[in-house]
């Protein structure tokens, strides 16, 4: 589903060159639930961003669901992100000026769909995360757990095959964290391929496979 070959990411400033990722090779199969762990600054999020086509590797190749990413044109990447990928961020990244349902509809705005279709799909996604009674609320009226559930609904509304979660439970207490993990596990059972960055060993143990990074290199 996701293939990374010899991925390198180098951050350059005028005086320093930092190797954030060093020759990463990964093959994530369809339907897998993979967690990525490692100390802070080891390149976990950078790796996830490259998988999600949010960032460009300095070297190496990325392929998403058989689509080799050879050109990083805005139009091509936008389409791939919109059709194939869904993102969940640690700090939710909801748009405060939009209601819950409008936030969830965002990925559908960049597809050819009618307002009615968008609304139906967003309602369906919110039902899946147990928030159908909060559709008209605004993010500021929600708890952290509820916000993350909205973020999950937004990630799955377009029915992407891959969900990339960057520390989705990082800002939540353990009860909320377990609830969110439960939702992700359910989505995985329904067929979604999930890659999750986490610091929590217990969470990682509940996934199919663990990838450990250290100083930008894969150690497990």
């Amino acid at each position: 589903m996701i293939i990374l070959e010899n991925i390198e990411k180098v951050y350059r400033t005028s005086s320093v060159e930092t190797l954030a990722l060093n020759k990463i090779n990964l093959h994530i199969k369809k339907g897998e639930f993979v967690s990525i762990m490692g100390p802070s600054g080891c390149g976990k999020s950078t790796l996830l961003n490259i998988m999600g086509l949010l960032d460009e590797p300095s070297n190496g190749k990325v392929a998403i669901d058989g689509n080799a990413v050879t050109k990083y044109s805005d139009q091509y990447l936008s389409q791939l992100r919109n059709q194939k990928l869904g993102f969940i961020f640690q700090s939710f990244h909801l748009i405060n000026d939009l209601s819950v349902i409008d936030n969830v509809e965002i990925p559908l705005l960049y597809r050819s769909s009618t307002a009615k279709e968008r609304k139906e799909l967003a309602q369906e996604a919110l039902e899946k995360v147990g928030l159908s009674n909060r559709m008209k609320h605004f993010p500021k009226q929600l708890s952290g757990g509820q916000k993350q559930r909205v973020a999950i609904a937004r990630a799955i509304v377009g029915k992407p095959e891959i969900i990339l979660a960057d520390e989705p439970t990082g800002n939540l207490d353990s009860v909320m964290g377990n609830e969110i993990l439960g939702i992700l596990q359910k989505l995985n059972e329904d067929g979604a391929t999930i890659v999750m960055v986490t610091h929590d060993d217990e969470m990682a143990k509940k996934t199919h496979r663990l990838i450990r990074l250290f100083d930008g290199a894969q150690v497990q």
Partner: protein, 351 residues
């Protein structure tokens, strides 16, 4: 404005024209349809029940009423026969009627008004014009042949203005050329004051050009350029400010840009989103400006700050303003929106 100078430009005599000059030379022009003559307004007093009423007075010919667009509430203007007969008649404004005549509502034509110990028969009542219309404003209008009009003064300078009505708008150039030609044909003895002056400058100008000329002695085109530059500055500075405000406004939404891009928004879609938002906000500003203008105009009109003020929104000027709003909305939105749409997703999400 009639200006005479010596060749070195050190001595100058400048001011309106005399009645004789206007009547003999300007009124004789062939291309205009009508030439109205009137004096600048003067000052006088009248009394009613022992209370003084300060008056502005004006002397005119009969064509003055053809060139202007006064609304006669009662009666009619004086004609050439009354002027030639030196009839003591006057046209007054509704404001003066209400002050002077206690039962003014029942008609005052035929009644007499005493100004400086002379009784004038009221033959017409017009709706007053605001003082901002310098050349038509007055409280009372007299035939030019009545006392204190100075219509028999010799020389070219005096206190009279000619208002020329063309047969059609396109005749303006022809009128100006005929006027310029007439000026070149004037006998120098008429204006050179025994050799004191050697240059005579006088133009037939549109009201707007004349108003612009009153700001300086430069050429009209130079003045237009100066006014244009001032306007560009007045409009340009807020535009630059608006661009900065928009940059910071859109920067605050960097995270939103990151989110939208993560979920598949192409840069072009974001560019359009921000430009359309900006144009919309600017147009709302334009509508607010229109509403505020209407309120302020209504306040000025009803406040009495300017007597007889009848300010109104000019639809053409308003439509141009909406166009300018639209243009600046576009300009001030495109630059920041373009920059933001090019923002890297990872950086946008971090902010």
């Amino acid at each position: 404005m009639l200006t005479r100078t010596d060749s070195a430009g050190t001595t100058m005599s400048s001011g309106p024209g005399s009645f004789q000059f206007m009547n003999q030379y300007v009124k004789a022009l062939k291309t205009p349809e009508v030439v109205g003559l009137c004096s600048n307004f003067g000052f006088s007093n009248t009394y009613v029940n022992g209370n003084k009423i300060k008056l502005n007075t004006k002397f005119t010919n009969s064509d003055f009423w053809k060139v202007t667009d006064f609304d006669f509430l009662e009666g009619k203007p004086y004609n050439d026969q009354q002027i030639n007969n030196r009839d003591y008649v006057a046209v007054i404004t509704d404001g003066l009627r209400d002050q002077y005549f206690e039962d003014g509502d029942h008609g005052v034509v035929g009644k007499y008004i005493e100004v400086e110990s002379i009784n004038y028969r009221v033959i017409g009542v017009v709706r007053g014009s605001p003082a901002t219309r310098l050349y038509t404003y007055s409280d009372i209008y007299f035939p030019y042949t009545l006392p204190k009009s100075n219509y028999e003064d010799k020389g070219v300078n005096g206190s009279y203005v000619a208002m020329i009505l063309g047969k059609k708008k396109a005749d303006l150039k022809a009128i100006q050329s005929e006027f310029d030609h007439m000026i070149t044909q004037l006998p120098p003895s008429l204006w050179n004051d025994g050799g004191r002056f050697s240059v005579l400058k006088v133009n037939a100008e549109t009201f707007f050009d004349h108003a612009i000329q009153s700001f300086g002695s430069r050429k009209t085109t130079q003045l237009y350029t100066i006014f244009g530059l001032v306007l560009v500055m007045i409009i340009g500075l807020p535009t630059v400010n608006l661009v900065n405000v928009n940059v910071s406004r859109i920067l605050e939404r960097a995270s939103e840009i990151g989110v939208r891009k993560s979920f598949g928004a192409p840069a072009r879609a974001l560019l359009w989103q921000f430009v359309i938002e900006n144009v919309f906000i600017t147009l709302i500003g334009g509508v607010l400006a229109l509403v505020l203008s209407l309120i302020i105009i209504e306040m000025i009109n009803s406040s009495g700050w300017i007597a007889y003020a009848d300010l109104a929104i000019n639809p053409t000027v308003f439509l141009i303003s909406v166009g300018v709003c639209f243009l600046f909305g576009l300009l001030s939105g495109v630059i920041p929106a373009y920059r933001m749409s090019k923002l890297k997703i990872v950086e946008a999400l971090k902010s």
